[in-house]
Subunit: 341 residues, 4 copies
């Protein structure tokens, strides 16, 4: 078979591991030919391809990012997009597509599958907010990067008797903050699912100082205060007339400094969380996803996506990728709260 493959949306450690696994499995076990499309759906729209044979995937496993490139192009936002996709696939003789991506990329895949394009998706979201799978690759790596930063910040915070606020990824779901905060021994973890009370945060910080140590506050980029006393749009002034600098992390640090009367600093981890070599967990998960996707194609499946359930890779409807977000449930947040203060 001729199988097309593409990566869309934000990049993630493990994308290359999926690509490699698809190629190794497809070529050596099924005699497939794998065609890579550059920059996600853009490459399909433009017929922009790159050969991905066995030689092309050597050495890819430990590399972050995606050799195929990525974009946020959506064929359904382009005049005649879906037709151009089908035209490209027909012209190149593509029997099936393996799109690797998140809500947007797989949303396109879902709609195309309904029009008869054979499609087996691989889920990707560094935020781990896809309900259909226990975990997605990239998440464990991101948590690791954040945790290592927190480990480092503990000692500098303690030495200077300062609060340190660490802003991590997570626009809608607080999984990275939750796991990195729990793994790093944070004094407070703030997530989008649970609007926070600034006075409560300050109380935890003060309690921590009393124990002789300095607080680390881990905050998702999408976390918001319950009482609206922080303004969130970049460049606005905050409640105290300060110009907001960059995000919730620095704003919160300024506020904590003001209310605790002790120095506070913010670190915004940003893109470091999504780059670089994947963790062992993510390399194994991404590899297994790739293998399972090829098997699903050859099993005649379409409109499905591979997913992790426990230790098994299963197939679920592609449409579940765009169903509700997987948010941090209250009982998981309560686990983290045991360590607050």
């Amino acid at each position: 078979m001729r199988i097309g493959i593409l990566t869309g949306g934000g990049d993630c450690p493990g994308l290359n591991a999926v690509i490699r696994a698809v190629v190794r499995k497809g070529v050596t076990e099924y005699g497939d030919e794998i065609v890579g499309f550059r920059d996600g759906w853009r490459g399909v729209l433009d017929g922009d391809t790159v050969p991905v044979d066995l030689a092309a995937v050597r050495g890819l496993l430990p590399r972050g990012g995606t050799v195929l490139g990525t974009s946020r192009t959506n064929p359904y936002s382009v005049e005649g997009g879906p037709e151009r996709v089908r035209e490209t696939l027909g012209r190149l003789g593509i029997d099936a597509l393996v799109p690797i991506g998140g809500e947007d990329t797989l949303g396109v895949a879902t709609r195309l599958a309904e029009t008869g394009v054979r499609m087996v998706g691989v889920p990707k979201t560094i935020d781990n907010d896809l309900d259909a799978t226990d975990y997605t690759f990239g998440f464990d790596t991101a948590v690791g990067v954040a945790m290592e930063a927190i480990d480092r910040l503990h000692t500098t915070g303690d030495s200077h008797h300062r609060t340190l606020v660490v802003e991590v990824m997570g626009r809608h779901a607080g999984w990275i903050a939750l796991h990195a905060g729990m793994a790093g021994g944070a004094s407070v973890v703030l997530i989008p699912e649970h609007p926070f009370d600034v006075d409560g945060v300050v109380a935890h910080c003060l309690h921590r100082f009393e124990s002789g140590y300095s607080p680390i506050v881990v905050v998702s980029e999408g976390a918001t205060p319950r009482d609206g006393d922080l303004m969130l749009s970049t460049g606005d002034e905050d409640a105290f007339g300060h110009v907001r600098l960059g995000g919730i992390g620095p704003a919160l640090a300024a506020l904590i400094e003001e209310r605790t009367g002790r120095e506070s600093r913010a670190v915004v981890l940003g893109h470091v969380q999504r780059g670089g070599t994947p963790s062992p967990f993510d390399r194994v998960l991404a590899t297994r996803f790739g293998l399972a996707a090829v098997d699903a194609v050859h099993a005649g499946e379409s409109g499905v996506m591979v997913a992790l359930r426990g230790t098994d890779i299963v197939r679920v409807p592609l449409s579940t990728a765009t169903a509700q977000l997987k948010l941090v449930p209250p009982e998981r947040y309560a686990e983290a709260e045991v360590f607050f203060g």
Copy 2:
């Protein structure tokens, strides 16, 4: 309540994280007093305790090993052992015990629980070979150490056109070899569950050399050849009259060198795999196990063990800890085989 806690058997990254979580949860949410026993069941036999209050567990989360110490002492192998255990617990007013350990430690716990001692176990096995739980803490860390070694060895192998054999932990189950080999891009993975054919290994190595790269062979310490042409007891001579050096890894390296006609070297990772700071996955899992154990105690449970199922922490009978080993199933090994050669 007064809750006793102990760690038995081989140490594992994450033990301290469990201890910390038990103390934080027990003391701050339930008002418990936690009593630590030194060196596993030995401390219970001897009434050798150490206070573990909130101050004692500060800073424990990222530390490998166990502050309580560990041993392989088994009260059932000691004259009057079980009676001495009950005597100690009665004298110290211990309401419940939280033993953290593997097959042996929890086997003792199972038998004691049957005699009426309140017992909630926490499973520990760096080899990940406990059937009752998806994963145990320490395993992900060990896989990470092994994978980093493999990452490093690729470049030196390629530079010298040598085969490198990496011996990892896993006496009965090949999980560490399987995951580290898959994550590290091994050319061959050999596990106890699947006796290997030396000629097949050699063929994979030669195939790898032909592609212009050098092979990495990952082998569990408990892997054995199908055809008996390697002798396994340390110090014996091997089939070629060489004195066996230390284990399967060096023996296999010597054999591969002989049959491929190219240099081969072995690395035995050994104790480095079980020491040091836990990975983020293991810190979170160990912490959640500790929290859940305390909840189980207060829920009036006994004779149970906490376990991971998917993303949930559940309770399973303690006796399942000593039920059959979780071996690598053939379909998981087949996944790795896609990348052989």
Copy 3:
């Protein structure tokens, strides 16, 4: 002898290693008693001490930060400060002081030494801008943190065809940017010693894109544009009417995006660079500094500071700590320029 020890100014990986070495050497070889002052000169002013015996320094070697705490308190800015320092030292029977710090901390030490206080300094500056020593501890660790971030950012930059700007420490001297940029394969390195031309930076970025890869721009926090087309005070508007967000890094990223017509993102590494466990180089250097300081005290030296020259630890006048900054010389910057574009 009774030797006082203190750490002042910004913290640095390796401070604890110095403290440990002073104690091990002083106590076991000379029979000294070591008295720790809390939070730099503040602790001397207030007579706020902490015992640092052999037990107190166990396990300190790999820990970042300083167990003694630190502050920027300057006795010469305090009414009657120098007198209070001498009073404390007299009252506690301190024979000599080992202050560990940078320009400010050692500047105080220099002046106090001139008044007869016996003083052997240990230089500390994470920016590596002290002229009297080849290297200071903490610098290698900071470079390592920055390099790892750059390694990670390469793959995400390439996947998204984006410029990534990494802002690192270095207010007056560009050593961290120079070394991290050279080690990380940066496309451009911008340092305070060499005001930059924005058009030149943009040209390097475009050239890098043409080669099929994405540029990484490493910029010291203190770097400034030659042509003044970036305003540097936080909260100001930049040349394009955008509110400046946090520092040179984000401002430069916005400008590069505008002029290249391709997405650009900034990462500000901040405090992560100065926290956490020291690198091997820094652990050895800090340890040797501590040993040499104690030897200098017992050799009857005062008004000196230990320093690294080649592979030797030597003694230099304390006053050299406050002499001219060690800036990146043009020929070292020229080395980095070979790799621009």
Copy 4:
């Protein structure tokens, strides 16, 4: 100019960084053409070359090993070797050679330079035992790998109350053991320069146990006992009738177990120390060596080698590469001894 480049002897993290720097500097600043010879002097003997242009060195900086391959082939041990070398260089129009290697590789270079071949060497020895330079690249990385292993082993040793013996590289010089042991907080460091007394080692171990912690003994592969009570040739029986397993590390562990009456285990780090991505220090040093070598060629130098002196890269006679080994001097060993026990 046409400049040949080759890497000989054992591989080392940083070799690729040197190659990249030579190419970047030579091609972009001088318009050189760089010709790579495969597998050290073997490639020169056989005229086996590989193109190394700008594209070929992209992405090489962080990669361990050497893309050129390496061997221990010595033209002076081959019939007509030197003539074949000159013939190859003449035929390919090579104006100058940049050999990167240790004593053997540069020894060949020294002799060839005397016969008129233009030659600028780059020193390489992971053991850091070359007298003509402060440091060589690869050493810092090897120390880092060993130190991380020691960091990990502390916790498992303490948990089990065991002595752990770590065998590191260093056949003739103990630099890796000295630095890794000092950085890792070893209880004893044993090096070839200082034959050890087994009873002294045991005494340090017992003293360490008394303090409540477990000893880590770091031993160079070339260290030997003063009193000859350990036999060193592999496969021999030791003084207690045990077959020696692999090296000094396991032999010493067995002996320590016997004499302390407490469990002891050995870890032999082996090839992991020389593989993988270079540390920041080594990436910068290797890059600067490569740049300086090209400058030396264009300055008309021959028979020289680049070297590090303090923070400067200097040129020294090639013959110094084969002069006396740089051994650990007694005063450096004395520094480590402060921390024994």
